[in-house]
């Protein structure tokens, strides 16, 4: 399995534009809220702009976060099925989340300025809710 990964295809026209690598801080935020299983994270990512069609991306992201020691996981015994991994945030993860949020906040301020300057000559209608696009 030494072949390079396929490049991520460009976003379809009209897709939401989310920051690059946005999945990473999103996962840290969800785990800051409370420890969770993979399936729960998949569900809770939807309002943040991620669809449920790519659980592999979530799996790989969780593995990377765990290897970077930002997240840890433990087995949770199940009486009804196989044991599952329960993910929780580490202190290093909490610190990285805070740094990401400060960076996103600065980006948000620039975007607010950009939109405000545009709306000086074009009135924008409220954004319609779109189905989540595939982003990372």
């Amino acid at each position: 399995m030494k072949e390079p990964e396929k490049p991520i295809p460009p976003d379809p026209p009209g897709a939401q534009i989310l920051p690059k690598n946005f999945l990473r801080p999103c996962l840290l935020l969800l785990l800051r809220e409370h420890p969770a299983h993979g399936y729960d994270l998949l569900e809770r990512l939807r309002p943040l702009g991620f669809n449920r069609d790519d659980p592999g991306r979530l799996y790989r992201a969780l593995r990377a976060l765990e290897k970077d020691k930002l997240v840890r996981s433990v087995w949770e015994k199940s009486s009804a099925g196989p044991d599952r991994r329960m993910y929780e945030l580490t202190r290093a993860g909490m610190e990285e989340l805070h740094e990401s949020v400060m960076s996103l906040k600065a980006t948000g301020e620039i975007l607010d300025l950009f939109i405000s300057r545009y709306t000086e000559f074009v009135a924008l209608r409220p954004t319609k809710k779109k189905s989540p696009a595939n982003h990372d």
Partner: protein, 122 residues
């Protein structure tokens, strides 16, 4: 097939399939689903999957669907835990040898209880 590569891929595949199974994402993925999940081309992955079927770690249906055998299930769970073992020890709190939680069984129980919400420091 390089045997070291076989071992590396075996662990990756079994861990991923165990995770998919335990999260009820898929108990019987196709080679294509697995290749998308692991972000590798299916042409690269299929020979490994067939090898793992021969080794009794996977069971398959004519190179279409694959599922974990009982041995594969056990190996997937175990290697997943082994790989992250340094992150999941010690068992209660990230504490030193002289932590208060070693004072008594009650203190150890309190430590475990706290750990579900927050880790304590010494």
């Amino acid at each position: 097939m390089d045997e070291l590569e076989v071992i590396r891929v075996r662990d990756e595949v079994l861990q991923a399939m165990y995770w998919m199974h335990s999260e009820a994402i898929s108990t019987m993925p196709t080679a294509k689903e697995l290749s998308q999940f692991l972000a590798v081309p299916d042409t690269v992955l299929v020979p490994f999957l067939e090898r793992f079927v021969e080794d009794g770690l996977l069971e398959g249906e004519s190179t279409s669907f694959y599922w974990l055998s009982p041995d594969g299930m056990e190996a997937g769970k175990r290697t997943f835990a082994d790989e992250m073992a340094d992150l999941t020890r010690p068992t209660h709190g990230e504490c030193d040898a002289d932590c208060w939680c070693h004072d008594s069984p009650e203190a150890a129980a309190d430590c475990l209880h706290e750990r579900t919400g927050k880790a304590h420091s010494t």
